[in-house]
Protein backbone atom coordinates (compact mmCIF):
# COMPACT_ATOMS: atom_id res chain seq x y z
CA UNK A 1 0.00 0.00 0.00
CA UNK A 2 1.43 3.37 -0.94
CA UNK A 3 1.57 6.33 1.39
CA UNK A 4 -1.29 8.08 -0.40
CA UNK A 5 -3.52 5.05 -0.15
CA UNK A 6 -2.77 4.82 3.57
CA UNK A 7 -3.66 8.46 4.06
CA UNK A 8 -6.81 7.85 2.04
CA UNK A 9 -7.80 5.04 4.39
CA UNK A 10 -7.19 7.23 7.42
CA UNK A 11 -9.23 10.06 5.92
CA UNK A 12 -12.03 7.71 5.07
CA UNK A 13 -12.22 6.47 8.65
CA UNK A 14 -11.53 9.57 10.71
CA UNK A 15 -12.23 12.48 8.39
CA UNK A 16 -9.69 14.74 6.77
CA UNK A 17 -9.25 17.15 9.67
CA UNK A 18 -8.78 14.55 12.41
CA UNK A 19 -5.05 14.29 11.83
CA UNK A 20 -2.22 16.21 10.24
CA UNK A 21 0.51 14.88 8.02
CA UNK A 22 4.02 16.06 7.38
CA UNK A 23 7.10 14.91 5.60
CA UNK A 24 10.76 15.55 6.28
CA UNK A 25 13.51 13.93 4.17
CA UNK A 26 12.11 10.43 3.69
CA UNK A 27 10.18 10.31 6.98
CA UNK A 28 6.42 10.34 6.50
CA UNK A 29 4.49 11.30 9.56
CA UNK A 30 0.94 11.43 10.80
CA UNK A 31 0.04 13.36 13.94
CA UNK A 32 -3.05 12.05 15.71
CA UNK A 33 -4.72 13.10 18.98
CA UNK A 34 -3.86 10.90 21.97
CA UNK A 35 -7.40 9.63 22.27
CA UNK A 36 -7.30 8.13 18.82
CA UNK A 37 -3.96 6.37 18.92
CA UNK A 38 -5.24 2.83 19.37
CA UNK A 39 -7.85 3.14 16.65
CA UNK A 40 -5.30 4.59 14.25
CA UNK A 41 -2.70 1.97 15.02
CA UNK A 42 -5.24 -0.82 14.70
CA UNK A 43 -6.39 0.48 11.34
CA UNK A 44 -2.82 0.83 10.13
CA UNK A 45 -1.95 -2.66 11.27
CA UNK A 46 -5.03 -4.50 10.10
CA UNK A 47 -5.92 -2.70 6.92
CA UNK A 48 -2.80 -0.93 5.73
CA UNK A 49 -0.31 -3.74 6.19
CA UNK A 50 1.97 -2.17 8.81
CA UNK A 51 2.91 -5.40 10.51
CA UNK A 52 5.94 -4.30 12.50
CA UNK A 53 6.39 -1.73 15.24
CA UNK A 54 10.09 -1.09 14.91
CA UNK A 55 10.32 1.95 17.13
CA UNK A 56 8.44 3.53 19.97
CA UNK A 57 9.95 6.48 21.73
CA UNK A 58 9.17 9.81 23.30
CA UNK A 59 10.58 13.31 23.48
CA UNK A 60 10.13 15.93 26.16
CA UNK A 61 9.38 19.21 24.37
CA UNK A 62 9.72 21.34 27.51
CA UNK A 63 12.32 23.69 26.03
CA UNK A 64 11.61 23.13 22.36
CA UNK A 65 10.97 26.20 20.23
CA UNK A 66 7.24 26.78 19.64
CA UNK A 67 6.16 23.57 21.33
CA UNK A 68 2.59 23.43 22.60
CA UNK A 69 2.60 20.05 24.28
CA UNK A 70 4.98 18.56 26.78
CA UNK A 71 5.62 15.02 25.58
CA UNK A 72 5.60 13.68 22.07
CA UNK A 73 5.38 9.94 21.54
CA UNK A 74 6.41 8.43 18.22
CA UNK A 75 5.38 5.05 16.90
CA UNK A 76 7.50 3.86 14.01
CA UNK A 77 5.61 1.43 11.82
CA UNK A 78 6.99 -0.69 9.05
CA UNK A 79 5.31 -2.70 6.34
CA UNK A 80 7.76 -5.57 5.90
CA UNK A 81 6.32 -6.64 2.55
CA UNK A 82 6.20 -3.26 0.83
CA UNK A 83 9.09 -1.82 2.83
CA UNK A 84 7.27 1.42 3.62
CA UNK A 85 7.58 3.25 6.90
CA UNK A 86 5.18 5.52 8.70
CA UNK A 87 5.66 7.50 11.89
CA UNK A 88 2.60 8.06 14.02
CA UNK A 89 3.08 10.92 16.44
CA UNK A 90 0.95 11.96 19.33
CA UNK A 91 1.24 14.35 22.25
CA UNK A 92 0.43 13.99 25.92
CA UNK A 93 0.69 16.42 28.79
CA UNK A 94 1.27 16.69 32.52
CA UNK A 95 0.05 16.01 35.16
CA UNK A 96 -0.91 12.50 34.06
CA UNK A 97 0.70 11.65 30.75
CA UNK A 98 -1.12 8.54 29.68
CA UNK A 99 -1.58 6.54 26.51
CA UNK A 100 -3.17 3.22 25.66
CA UNK A 101 -0.67 0.41 25.24
CA UNK A 102 0.19 -0.92 21.79
CA UNK A 103 1.07 -4.31 23.27
CA UNK A 104 -2.18 -6.00 22.16
CA UNK A 105 -1.27 -5.12 18.57
CA UNK A 106 2.49 -5.70 18.58
CA UNK A 107 4.28 -7.69 21.24
CA UNK A 108 7.40 -5.75 20.32
CA UNK A 109 5.89 -2.79 22.16
CA UNK A 110 6.47 -4.49 25.52
CA UNK A 111 9.95 -3.28 26.40
CA UNK A 112 9.79 -0.15 24.27
CA UNK A 113 6.84 1.08 26.32
CA UNK A 114 8.54 0.12 29.54
CA UNK A 115 11.54 2.19 28.51
CA UNK A 116 9.40 5.23 27.70
CA UNK A 117 7.68 4.84 31.06
CA UNK A 118 11.02 4.53 32.81
CA UNK A 119 12.55 7.55 31.13
CA UNK A 120 9.56 9.90 30.82
CA UNK A 121 6.90 8.62 33.19
CA UNK A 122 4.32 8.19 30.46
CA UNK A 123 1.92 5.49 31.59
CA UNK A 124 0.72 2.97 29.04
CA UNK A 125 -2.73 1.75 29.99
CA UNK A 126 -3.20 -1.95 29.47
CA UNK A 127 0.47 -2.85 29.42
CA UNK A 128 0.84 -6.25 31.11
CA UNK A 129 3.94 -5.46 33.14
CA UNK A 130 4.73 -1.77 33.29
CA UNK A 131 7.81 -1.59 35.51
CA UNK A 132 11.02 0.37 35.34
CA UNK A 133 13.42 -1.36 33.00
CA UNK A 134 16.76 0.42 32.96
CA UNK A 135 16.70 2.46 36.15
CA UNK A 136 16.54 0.77 39.57
CA UNK A 137 13.00 0.56 40.90
CA UNK A 138 13.81 2.70 43.97
CA UNK A 139 14.41 5.55 41.55
CA UNK A 140 11.69 8.17 41.71
CA UNK A 141 12.54 10.63 38.92
CA UNK A 142 12.25 10.27 35.15
CA UNK A 143 15.76 10.92 33.89
CA UNK A 144 15.20 11.84 30.25
CA UNK A 145 12.79 14.63 31.10
CA UNK A 146 14.28 17.98 30.30
CA UNK A 147 13.85 19.28 33.86
CA UNK A 148 16.03 16.47 35.16
CA UNK A 149 19.67 17.60 35.31
CA UNK A 150 22.43 15.78 33.44
CA UNK A 151 24.30 14.90 36.62
CA UNK A 152 21.24 13.77 38.50
CA UNK A 153 19.82 14.98 41.77
CA UNK A 154 22.16 13.06 44.02
CA UNK A 155 20.26 9.77 43.91
CA UNK A 156 23.45 7.81 43.65
CA UNK A 157 24.43 8.86 47.14
CA UNK A 158 21.15 7.72 48.59
CA UNK A 159 20.90 4.27 47.10
CA UNK A 160 20.12 1.69 49.75
CA UNK A 161 23.28 -0.14 50.73
CA UNK A 162 23.09 -3.78 51.69
CA UNK A 163 25.87 -4.90 53.93
CA UNK A 164 27.21 -8.42 53.69
CA UNK A 165 25.58 -9.37 56.99
CA UNK A 166 22.13 -8.24 55.85
CA UNK A 167 22.46 -9.79 52.41
Amino acid sequence: MTHDETLGKLRERFGADAFTTSEFRDNKRVVVPAGRVTETLRLLKEECGFDMLFELTATDYLRYPDAKDRYGVVYGLLDTRAGTRLFVRTFVNDPDPELPSAYPLWKGADWLEREVYDMYGIVFEGHPDLRRILMPEEFTAYPLRKDYPLRGKGERHNFPVLTRAEG
Binding site: P65, D110, W111, R131
Partner: protein, 406 residues
Protein backbone atom coordinates in the same frame (compact mmCIF):
# COMPACT_ATOMS: atom_id res chain seq x y z
CA UNK B 1 13.60 -6.06 40.86
CA UNK B 2 10.56 -6.41 43.13
CA UNK B 3 9.73 -9.84 44.44
CA UNK B 4 6.32 -9.92 42.79
CA UNK B 5 8.02 -10.12 39.43
CA UNK B 6 9.84 -13.22 40.62
CA UNK B 7 6.76 -15.06 41.75
CA UNK B 8 5.68 -15.94 38.30
CA UNK B 9 4.13 -19.38 38.16
CA UNK B 10 1.83 -19.47 41.14
CA UNK B 11 -1.15 -19.99 38.82
CA UNK B 12 -1.34 -23.73 39.09
CA UNK B 13 -1.45 -23.73 42.84
CA UNK B 14 0.27 -25.96 45.32
CA UNK B 15 1.48 -28.47 42.73
CA UNK B 16 4.05 -26.00 41.61
CA UNK B 17 6.15 -25.92 44.73
CA UNK B 18 8.71 -28.36 43.34
CA UNK B 19 9.76 -25.62 40.98
CA UNK B 20 12.83 -23.70 41.89
CA UNK B 21 14.25 -20.32 41.11
CA UNK B 22 17.68 -19.80 39.66
CA UNK B 23 19.47 -16.51 39.35
CA UNK B 24 21.49 -16.41 36.12
CA UNK B 25 23.95 -13.55 36.00
CA UNK B 26 24.55 -10.62 36.14
CA UNK B 27 28.08 -11.97 36.36
CA UNK B 28 28.18 -15.13 34.35
CA UNK B 29 30.66 -16.09 31.63
CA UNK B 30 27.91 -16.84 29.12
CA UNK B 31 26.16 -13.50 29.52
CA UNK B 32 29.43 -11.93 28.27
CA UNK B 33 28.47 -8.68 29.92
CA UNK B 34 26.12 -7.83 32.71
CA UNK B 35 22.59 -8.98 32.26
CA UNK B 36 20.52 -11.00 34.64
CA UNK B 37 17.87 -13.65 34.19
CA UNK B 38 15.55 -14.93 36.86
CA UNK B 39 14.56 -18.42 35.93
CA UNK B 40 11.82 -20.61 37.27
CA UNK B 41 12.78 -24.18 36.61
CA UNK B 42 10.96 -27.45 36.61
CA UNK B 43 13.86 -29.82 36.94
CA UNK B 44 16.03 -28.49 34.16
CA UNK B 45 13.20 -27.12 32.04
CA UNK B 46 12.74 -23.38 32.01
CA UNK B 47 9.15 -22.58 32.92
CA UNK B 48 9.57 -18.87 33.07
CA UNK B 49 12.38 -16.45 32.46
CA UNK B 50 12.34 -12.84 33.62
CA UNK B 51 15.17 -10.72 32.26
CA UNK B 52 16.42 -7.95 34.50
CA UNK B 53 18.52 -5.39 32.68
CA UNK B 54 19.95 -1.98 33.35
CA UNK B 55 23.23 -2.96 35.02
CA UNK B 56 25.15 -1.14 32.32
CA UNK B 57 22.80 1.80 31.95
CA UNK B 58 24.89 4.93 31.77
CA UNK B 59 22.55 7.49 30.28
CA UNK B 60 23.95 7.65 26.75
CA UNK B 61 20.82 9.28 25.40
CA UNK B 62 20.93 11.96 28.07
CA UNK B 63 24.57 12.60 27.22
CA UNK B 64 23.58 12.87 23.57
CA UNK B 65 21.50 15.91 24.45
CA UNK B 66 24.49 17.64 26.00
CA UNK B 67 27.24 16.86 23.50
CA UNK B 68 27.44 18.27 20.01
CA UNK B 69 26.95 16.20 16.88
CA UNK B 70 30.65 15.43 16.52
CA UNK B 71 31.39 14.84 20.18
CA UNK B 72 28.64 12.27 20.61
CA UNK B 73 30.45 9.90 18.26
CA UNK B 74 32.71 8.85 21.11
CA UNK B 75 29.64 7.75 23.04
CA UNK B 76 27.90 5.88 20.22
CA UNK B 77 31.17 4.01 19.69
CA UNK B 78 30.60 2.41 23.05
CA UNK B 79 27.12 1.10 22.39
CA UNK B 80 27.65 -2.03 20.38
CA UNK B 81 31.32 -2.25 21.22
CA UNK B 82 32.02 -5.32 19.12
CA UNK B 83 31.37 -3.33 15.94
CA UNK B 84 31.77 0.31 17.00
CA UNK B 85 32.21 1.70 13.51
CA UNK B 86 28.71 0.63 12.60
CA UNK B 87 27.28 2.80 15.37
CA UNK B 88 29.20 5.76 14.00
CA UNK B 89 27.81 5.10 10.53
CA UNK B 90 24.30 4.95 11.90
CA UNK B 91 24.68 8.12 13.97
CA UNK B 92 26.10 10.17 11.12
CA UNK B 93 23.62 8.68 8.71
CA UNK B 94 20.84 10.16 10.83
CA UNK B 95 22.62 13.44 11.50
CA UNK B 96 23.54 14.00 7.86
CA UNK B 97 20.00 13.17 6.88
CA UNK B 98 18.80 15.81 9.33
CA UNK B 99 21.20 18.42 7.99
CA UNK B 100 20.70 17.40 4.39
CA UNK B 101 24.37 16.71 3.73
CA UNK B 102 25.31 14.53 0.79
CA UNK B 103 28.73 13.03 1.53
CA UNK B 104 31.38 12.50 -1.16
CA UNK B 105 31.60 9.26 -3.19
CA UNK B 106 34.99 8.38 -1.68
CA UNK B 107 33.62 8.83 1.82
CA UNK B 108 30.64 6.63 0.98
CA UNK B 109 32.88 3.85 -0.27
CA UNK B 110 35.21 4.12 2.70
CA UNK B 111 32.29 4.03 5.09
CA UNK B 112 31.01 0.94 3.32
CA UNK B 113 34.39 -0.77 3.68
CA UNK B 114 34.66 0.15 7.34
CA UNK B 115 31.08 -0.88 7.95
CA UNK B 116 31.49 -4.25 6.30
CA UNK B 117 34.74 -4.88 8.17
CA UNK B 118 32.81 -4.10 11.35
CA UNK B 119 30.09 -6.53 10.29
CA UNK B 120 32.65 -9.26 9.71
CA UNK B 121 34.26 -8.62 13.08
CA UNK B 122 30.89 -8.61 14.82
CA UNK B 123 29.80 -11.86 13.22
CA UNK B 124 33.17 -13.45 13.96
CA UNK B 125 32.84 -12.71 17.63
CA UNK B 126 29.16 -13.60 17.75
CA UNK B 127 29.48 -16.97 16.05
CA UNK B 128 32.77 -17.69 17.78
CA UNK B 129 31.42 -16.86 21.21
CA UNK B 130 28.20 -18.78 20.56
CA UNK B 131 30.36 -21.81 19.81
CA UNK B 132 32.61 -21.09 22.79
CA UNK B 133 29.67 -21.11 25.16
CA UNK B 134 28.66 -24.49 23.81
CA UNK B 135 32.15 -25.87 24.34
CA UNK B 136 33.74 -25.43 20.90
CA UNK B 137 36.74 -23.34 21.82
CA UNK B 138 38.88 -23.53 18.70
CA UNK B 139 36.50 -21.78 16.31
CA UNK B 140 36.42 -18.82 18.67
CA UNK B 141 40.20 -18.50 18.52
CA UNK B 142 40.22 -18.64 14.73
CA UNK B 143 37.58 -15.94 14.69
CA UNK B 144 39.37 -13.78 17.19
CA UNK B 145 42.60 -13.94 15.24
CA UNK B 146 40.79 -12.46 12.25
CA UNK B 147 39.26 -9.82 14.49
CA UNK B 148 42.75 -8.80 15.54
CA UNK B 149 43.57 -8.13 11.91
CA UNK B 150 40.48 -5.97 11.56
CA UNK B 151 41.48 -4.04 14.68
CA UNK B 152 44.85 -3.44 13.07
CA UNK B 153 43.16 -2.10 9.95
CA UNK B 154 41.10 0.31 12.04
CA UNK B 155 44.15 1.36 13.99
CA UNK B 156 46.10 1.96 10.80
CA UNK B 157 43.45 4.34 9.51
CA UNK B 158 42.34 6.11 12.66
CA UNK B 159 44.94 5.53 15.36
CA UNK B 160 42.48 3.66 17.58
CA UNK B 161 41.97 -0.07 17.61
CA UNK B 162 38.74 -0.50 19.44
CA UNK B 163 36.72 2.70 19.39
CA UNK B 164 38.03 4.51 16.34
CA UNK B 165 35.69 7.57 16.45
CA UNK B 166 36.80 7.92 12.87
CA UNK B 167 33.84 9.65 11.29
CA UNK B 168 32.71 13.23 11.51
CA UNK B 169 29.68 15.10 10.26
CA UNK B 170 30.19 15.27 6.51
CA UNK B 171 33.19 12.99 6.20
CA UNK B 172 36.08 11.30 7.94
CA UNK B 173 38.77 12.61 10.26
CA UNK B 174 41.44 11.84 7.67
CA UNK B 175 41.87 10.02 4.40
CA UNK B 176 43.34 6.52 4.11
CA UNK B 177 46.45 5.81 2.06
CA UNK B 178 47.54 3.06 -0.32
CA UNK B 179 49.23 1.11 2.44
CA UNK B 180 45.89 0.86 4.20
CA UNK B 181 44.22 -0.38 1.04
CA UNK B 182 46.95 -3.02 0.76
CA UNK B 183 46.25 -4.11 4.31
CA UNK B 184 42.58 -4.55 3.63
CA UNK B 185 43.43 -6.51 0.47
CA UNK B 186 45.69 -8.80 2.51
CA UNK B 187 42.97 -9.35 5.05
CA UNK B 188 40.41 -10.14 2.37
CA UNK B 189 42.81 -12.59 0.75
CA UNK B 190 43.44 -14.49 3.96
CA UNK B 191 39.91 -14.39 5.27
CA UNK B 192 38.48 -17.12 3.08
CA UNK B 193 40.73 -19.74 4.62
CA UNK B 194 39.97 -18.69 8.19
CA UNK B 195 36.27 -18.69 7.41
CA UNK B 196 36.53 -22.16 5.92
CA UNK B 197 38.36 -23.34 9.04
CA UNK B 198 35.59 -22.03 11.26
CA UNK B 199 32.92 -23.49 9.02
CA UNK B 200 34.54 -26.92 9.00
CA UNK B 201 34.83 -26.87 12.77
CA UNK B 202 31.20 -26.01 13.36
CA UNK B 203 28.88 -26.69 10.43
CA UNK B 204 29.16 -30.46 10.75
CA UNK B 205 30.02 -30.54 14.43
CA UNK B 206 27.60 -33.05 15.91
CA UNK B 207 27.56 -31.52 19.41
CA UNK B 208 27.15 -27.99 18.12
CA UNK B 209 24.30 -28.94 15.82
CA UNK B 210 22.51 -30.97 18.47
CA UNK B 211 22.64 -28.05 20.84
CA UNK B 212 21.46 -25.41 18.37
CA UNK B 213 19.09 -27.05 15.90
CA UNK B 214 15.45 -26.68 16.89
CA UNK B 215 16.34 -24.49 19.88
CA UNK B 216 14.83 -21.06 20.36
CA UNK B 217 12.61 -21.25 17.29
CA UNK B 218 11.22 -17.92 16.15
CA UNK B 219 8.52 -18.14 13.51
CA UNK B 220 8.22 -15.56 10.76
CA UNK B 221 5.00 -14.09 12.16
CA UNK B 222 6.42 -13.78 15.66
CA UNK B 223 9.63 -12.27 14.33
CA UNK B 224 7.67 -9.52 12.59
CA UNK B 225 5.25 -8.98 15.45
CA UNK B 226 8.07 -8.70 17.98
CA UNK B 227 10.11 -6.34 15.85
CA UNK B 228 13.05 -8.60 15.01
CA UNK B 229 15.46 -7.27 12.40
CA UNK B 230 18.79 -8.23 10.90
CA UNK B 231 20.14 -11.80 11.04
CA UNK B 232 17.57 -12.80 13.66
CA UNK B 233 14.69 -11.89 11.35
CA UNK B 234 16.41 -13.21 8.23
CA UNK B 235 16.99 -16.57 9.89
CA UNK B 236 13.22 -16.72 10.37
CA UNK B 237 12.51 -16.07 6.72
CA UNK B 238 11.87 -12.32 6.80
CA UNK B 239 13.58 -11.21 3.61
CA UNK B 240 14.65 -7.76 4.67
CA UNK B 241 17.96 -6.03 4.56
CA UNK B 242 18.19 -2.25 4.72
CA UNK B 243 21.21 -2.36 2.43
CA UNK B 244 18.91 -3.64 -0.30
CA UNK B 245 15.54 -2.22 0.73
CA UNK B 246 16.56 1.32 1.59
CA UNK B 247 20.03 1.58 0.07
CA UNK B 248 22.10 4.11 1.96
CA UNK B 249 25.76 5.05 1.38
CA UNK B 250 26.87 3.33 -1.83
CA UNK B 251 25.19 -0.05 -1.41
CA UNK B 252 23.37 0.35 -4.72
CA UNK B 253 26.67 -0.13 -6.54
CA UNK B 254 27.51 -3.52 -5.13
CA UNK B 255 26.49 -7.01 -6.00
CA UNK B 256 25.66 -9.08 -2.95
CA UNK B 257 23.03 -11.46 -1.69
CA UNK B 258 20.68 -11.19 1.26
CA UNK B 259 21.20 -14.37 3.24
CA UNK B 260 18.06 -15.92 4.65
CA UNK B 261 17.02 -19.14 6.31
CA UNK B 262 13.62 -20.57 7.06
CA UNK B 263 13.83 -22.56 10.27
CA UNK B 264 14.37 -19.66 12.68
CA UNK B 265 16.35 -21.62 15.27
CA UNK B 266 19.77 -20.94 16.77
CA UNK B 267 21.49 -22.97 14.07
CA UNK B 268 19.80 -20.95 11.32
CA UNK B 269 20.92 -17.70 12.93
CA UNK B 270 24.44 -19.08 13.12
CA UNK B 271 24.40 -20.10 9.44
CA UNK B 272 23.00 -16.75 8.33
CA UNK B 273 25.79 -14.92 10.15
CA UNK B 274 28.46 -17.21 8.71
CA UNK B 275 27.26 -16.66 5.15
CA UNK B 276 26.81 -12.94 5.63
CA UNK B 277 30.51 -12.64 6.36
CA UNK B 278 31.32 -13.93 2.88
CA UNK B 279 28.87 -11.45 1.34
CA UNK B 280 30.52 -8.67 3.31
CA UNK B 281 33.90 -9.72 2.01
CA UNK B 282 32.48 -9.59 -1.51
CA UNK B 283 31.28 -6.03 -0.89
CA UNK B 284 34.66 -5.02 0.53
CA UNK B 285 36.42 -6.41 -2.53
CA UNK B 286 34.15 -4.54 -4.92
CA UNK B 287 34.46 -1.31 -2.94
CA UNK B 288 38.25 -1.59 -2.80
CA UNK B 289 38.62 -2.16 -6.51
CA UNK B 290 36.33 0.73 -7.40
CA UNK B 291 37.37 3.13 -4.66
CA UNK B 292 36.76 6.62 -6.08
CA UNK B 293 39.32 9.38 -5.72
CA UNK B 294 38.62 12.90 -4.58
CA UNK B 295 38.09 14.41 -1.16
CA UNK B 296 36.79 12.37 1.78
CA UNK B 297 34.85 15.21 3.33
CA UNK B 298 32.27 17.55 1.89
CA UNK B 299 33.39 21.00 0.91
CA UNK B 300 34.42 23.18 3.83
CA UNK B 301 32.40 26.02 2.30
CA UNK B 302 29.28 24.17 3.36
CA UNK B 303 30.12 25.02 6.99
CA UNK B 304 29.32 21.52 8.14
CA UNK B 305 32.58 19.66 8.23
CA UNK B 306 35.50 20.08 10.56
CA UNK B 307 38.52 21.28 8.52
CA UNK B 308 41.71 19.24 8.79
CA UNK B 309 44.55 20.23 11.06
CA UNK B 310 46.78 21.65 8.34
CA UNK B 311 44.19 24.08 7.07
CA UNK B 312 43.31 25.16 10.62
CA UNK B 313 46.93 26.00 11.32
CA UNK B 314 47.85 27.46 7.96
CA UNK B 315 44.83 29.23 6.51
CA UNK B 316 42.47 31.81 7.86
CA UNK B 317 39.44 30.13 6.26
CA UNK B 318 40.20 26.86 8.00
CA UNK B 319 40.74 28.61 11.30
CA UNK B 320 37.44 30.47 11.06
CA UNK B 321 35.59 27.35 10.05
CA UNK B 322 37.06 25.41 12.98
CA UNK B 323 36.13 28.22 15.34
CA UNK B 324 32.61 28.33 13.99
CA UNK B 325 32.11 24.64 14.60
CA UNK B 326 33.59 24.34 18.08
CA UNK B 327 32.16 27.46 19.73
CA UNK B 328 29.02 26.38 21.56
CA UNK B 329 27.03 29.44 20.50
CA UNK B 330 27.71 28.92 16.78
CA UNK B 331 28.13 25.37 15.48
CA UNK B 332 25.69 23.76 13.07
CA UNK B 333 22.25 25.15 12.39
CA UNK B 334 20.20 22.14 11.34
CA UNK B 335 16.51 22.53 10.51
CA UNK B 336 14.18 22.52 13.51
CA UNK B 337 12.68 19.12 12.88
CA UNK B 338 13.13 15.49 13.67
CA UNK B 339 14.33 12.60 11.60
CA UNK B 340 14.83 8.86 11.90
CA UNK B 341 17.71 7.29 10.06
CA UNK B 342 18.58 3.63 10.25
CA UNK B 343 21.28 1.38 8.89
CA UNK B 344 21.68 -2.37 8.74
CA UNK B 345 24.01 -3.08 11.62
CA UNK B 346 25.40 -6.59 12.19
CA UNK B 347 22.74 -7.09 14.85
CA UNK B 348 19.80 -5.68 12.97
CA UNK B 349 18.30 -2.31 12.33
CA UNK B 350 20.26 0.30 14.22
CA UNK B 351 18.52 3.64 14.00
CA UNK B 352 18.79 7.05 15.54
CA UNK B 353 15.84 9.31 16.06
CA UNK B 354 17.32 12.78 16.16
CA UNK B 355 15.25 15.76 17.24
CA UNK B 356 16.88 19.08 16.50
CA UNK B 357 16.03 22.48 17.93
CA UNK B 358 18.34 24.24 15.50
CA UNK B 359 21.43 24.26 17.72
CA UNK B 360 24.68 22.34 17.62
CA UNK B 361 23.45 19.71 20.02
CA UNK B 362 20.69 17.24 19.41
CA UNK B 363 17.56 18.01 21.39
CA UNK B 364 16.93 14.29 21.62
CA UNK B 365 19.24 11.52 20.45
CA UNK B 366 17.27 8.34 20.63
CA UNK B 367 18.90 5.05 19.72
CA UNK B 368 16.83 2.21 18.36
CA UNK B 369 19.00 -0.60 19.66
CA UNK B 370 18.53 -3.99 18.01
CA UNK B 371 19.82 -5.84 21.10
CA UNK B 372 17.11 -4.29 23.24
CA UNK B 373 14.35 -5.40 20.91
CA UNK B 374 15.85 -8.86 20.50
CA UNK B 375 16.39 -9.44 24.19
CA UNK B 376 12.74 -8.58 24.83
CA UNK B 377 11.78 -11.77 23.01
CA UNK B 378 14.19 -13.91 25.01
CA UNK B 379 11.58 -15.25 27.49
CA UNK B 380 9.41 -16.29 24.54
CA UNK B 381 12.31 -18.12 22.91
CA UNK B 382 13.59 -19.93 25.97
CA UNK B 383 10.44 -21.02 27.79
CA UNK B 384 10.03 -24.77 27.54
CA UNK B 385 13.68 -25.37 26.76
CA UNK B 386 16.44 -26.71 28.98
CA UNK B 387 18.61 -24.66 31.28
CA UNK B 388 21.64 -25.41 29.14
CA UNK B 389 19.91 -23.99 26.06
CA UNK B 390 19.99 -20.52 27.56
CA UNK B 391 23.57 -19.96 26.49
CA UNK B 392 22.78 -21.17 22.98
CA UNK B 393 19.87 -18.74 22.60
CA UNK B 394 21.76 -15.85 24.20
CA UNK B 395 24.71 -16.47 21.90
CA UNK B 396 22.56 -16.65 18.81
CA UNK B 397 20.75 -13.38 19.56
CA UNK B 398 24.09 -11.64 20.12
CA UNK B 399 22.98 -9.51 23.05
CA UNK B 400 25.46 -6.72 23.71
CA UNK B 401 24.64 -5.28 27.11
CA UNK B 402 26.23 -1.92 26.43
CA UNK B 403 23.80 -1.44 23.57
CA UNK B 404 20.96 -3.03 25.51
CA UNK B 405 21.24 -0.63 28.44
CA UNK B 406 23.00 2.34 26.88
Amino acid sequence: MPLEALAPVADDGADADYRWTLNFGPQHPATHTTLRLLLTLDGETVVKAVPDIGYLHSGFEKLGEHLDYNQYVTIVDRMNYISPVMNEIAWFHAVEKLMGIEITPRCKYLRVIFGELARVSDHLLCTGAAALDLGAFTAFLYGFYQREKIYDIFEFASGQRFHPSYFRVGGLTCDVDDAWVERVRDFVKGFGKAHADMTRLLNRNRIFIDRTRGIGVLSKEEAINRGATGPVARASGVVRDLRKDEPYLAYKDFDFKVICAASGDCFARFLVRMEEMLESIKIIQQALENLPGGPVSVDVEGKAVMPDQMSVYRSIEGLIQHFELVMPNRQWQPPVDEVYGAVESPNGELGFYVVSDGTGQAYRARTRPPSFVHFAMFPYLIEGHQLSDIVAVLGSLNIIAAELDR
